[in-house]
Symmetry: C2
Subunit: 281 residues, 2 copies
């Protein structure tokens, strides 16, 4: 997702220095006006704002703190971490940064590469209200940013987002199995339901994938499982019971255990069909 | 919901005869140009199309078949039952009508009184494709009608709709409990999530009720429970296992048992909060 986000920042006229572990991914952005850096330390050296978009909390911790990139940042700048990581990890990173005089926002996104390309990401930001307010020019080209609470809350909101996504995929799956089981045309059911209270982006987009049985991965089931695991871990730390999230975690876990980890998360339908001895129709 | 639907039919210039168990509900429509009938038999006597909107299958069966209203219909006309009833009941009603030479569509709706007033109901129709095609002028003023399959499938699609509604309410509830539990502002979380993959009409409308803690009933929990019960009954008849629907049935059942049957279904949040010893915030 980093590349389309960078393009939108460049289109907005913001000066940009980029670094990626794979030089091949960063290179094409030089044609668009970005400076390509050969190390994360040099990439951040003159920055007013540093944005990271990495795979998980361990990757962020490794690049920013273990490799001394945080120390390479100038005092008073802001680090916006748009990666999806644990809320506890975000709080820990915030503390490290405070010691170095760097402001920090956890600001994960929802909307996929499509949303990233369109500059229409839903951005959930945790941190200081003033820091958030100061970053509007950076967020605006990327999507709609909302300040949801102190550090860690952006990540919690993202987990909340992923809980809704997973559970809604389960809901649409069972709805299709029920209606289809009685002879209804699933494509028509999807169409009919879109105007009513059941309408959602999941019904529209993932429901279409289910109808087309196009389960090549947009968002793989194994990542959805990881998100649900992190949500339950966060809930556990907060002393919360989330029975629906727990059930969905179990279903996605069984799906991944059954060898479908790389299938799109909408493929949960096939797992529930298999439980019902239904062969895809 | 009958009244606003009648008003939309009248606004479209369709001649309308109305009957209601409570004369007081039918009367005001005479000012809008409807003929008010004093019995269901006389209401249907000259009709080309009969529309029923009643509370459940037993009410439809009683009015139409026990009270001899089906026999009062002219041969060759069409009865559109827009009530939410069992798929098996719809199939049975279709059979009764066939014997009397009356065409039948089961065509329940989603969208609530708001959707009814706006002429924007999602109408899920089961029955003969030709009968459905011939009814376009009747459906058009009421909303968007989709033919989903043979008789009974309209009702199954409605149950599928209700499954998605109930499960999505559960999803949004747990998402709010998780994010709020970690200090995020639920109103802001709702706002932030609306642009992403978690966006849905439930997040927008029911999510707002949760934020406002405005649980006066739009759709009471006891009706949501009835819908889930009917969905599981239909699944059972079709030999289907729906684990997520089953969990939500249990949660709504406990909510209703706990005395919250008349609360809006979005009040499931309060039931899940109580399980977590959270007092509403």
């Amino acid at each position: 997702m980093g590349a389309p986000m960078c393009q939108n920042l460049l289109s907005a006229g913001l000066p940009l220095t980029v670094w990626n572990r794979s030089m091949a991914k960063a290179k094409p952005l030089s044609k668009r006006g970005a400076v390509v850096s050969d190390s994360p330390q040099s990439a951040v050296a003159d920055a007013d704002v540093v944005i990271t978009m990495l795979s998980d909390g361990a990757a962020v911790s490794n690049v920013i703190f273990t490799q001394g990139v945080a120390e390479a940042m100038r005092e008073g700048i802001t680090h916006i971490d748009m990666s999806s990581i644990g809320a506890d990890e975000a709080i820990e990173h915030a503390k490290h940064h405070v010691n170095l005089g760097v402001s920090y926002l956890d600001a994960p996104v929802s909307g996929g590469t499509k949303g990233a390309a369109a500059g229409e990401l839903a951005i959930m930001a945790g941190g200081d209200a003033e820091t958030f307010a100061a970053m509007q020019a950076v967020f605006a080209p990327l999507g709609q940013a909302t300040h949801v609470g102190p550090n860690g809350c952006g990540q919690l909101a993202k987990l909340a987002n992923q809980v809704i996504v997973a559970v809604t995929i389960g809901a649409v799956s069972e709805a299709f199995i029920l209606a289809g089981g009685g002879g209804a045309d699933r494509a028509k059911v999807r169409e009919a339901l879109q105007g009513g209270f059941a309408s959602s982006r999941i019904l529209t987009e993932h429901g279409q994938r289910m109808v087309d049985r196009a389960f090549e991965s947009g968002g793989p089931a194994k990542f959805q499982l990881k998100d649900l695991h992190n949500a339950l871990r966060a809930a556990d730390r907060l002393g919360l019971e989330l029975p629906i999230t727990k059930l969905l975690h179990g279903l996605f876990d069984a799906m991944v255990q059954g060898g479908k980890g790389d299938m799109d998360h909408s493929g949960l339908l096939t797992h529930l069909e298999a439980l019902n001895n239904i062969t895809g129709n």
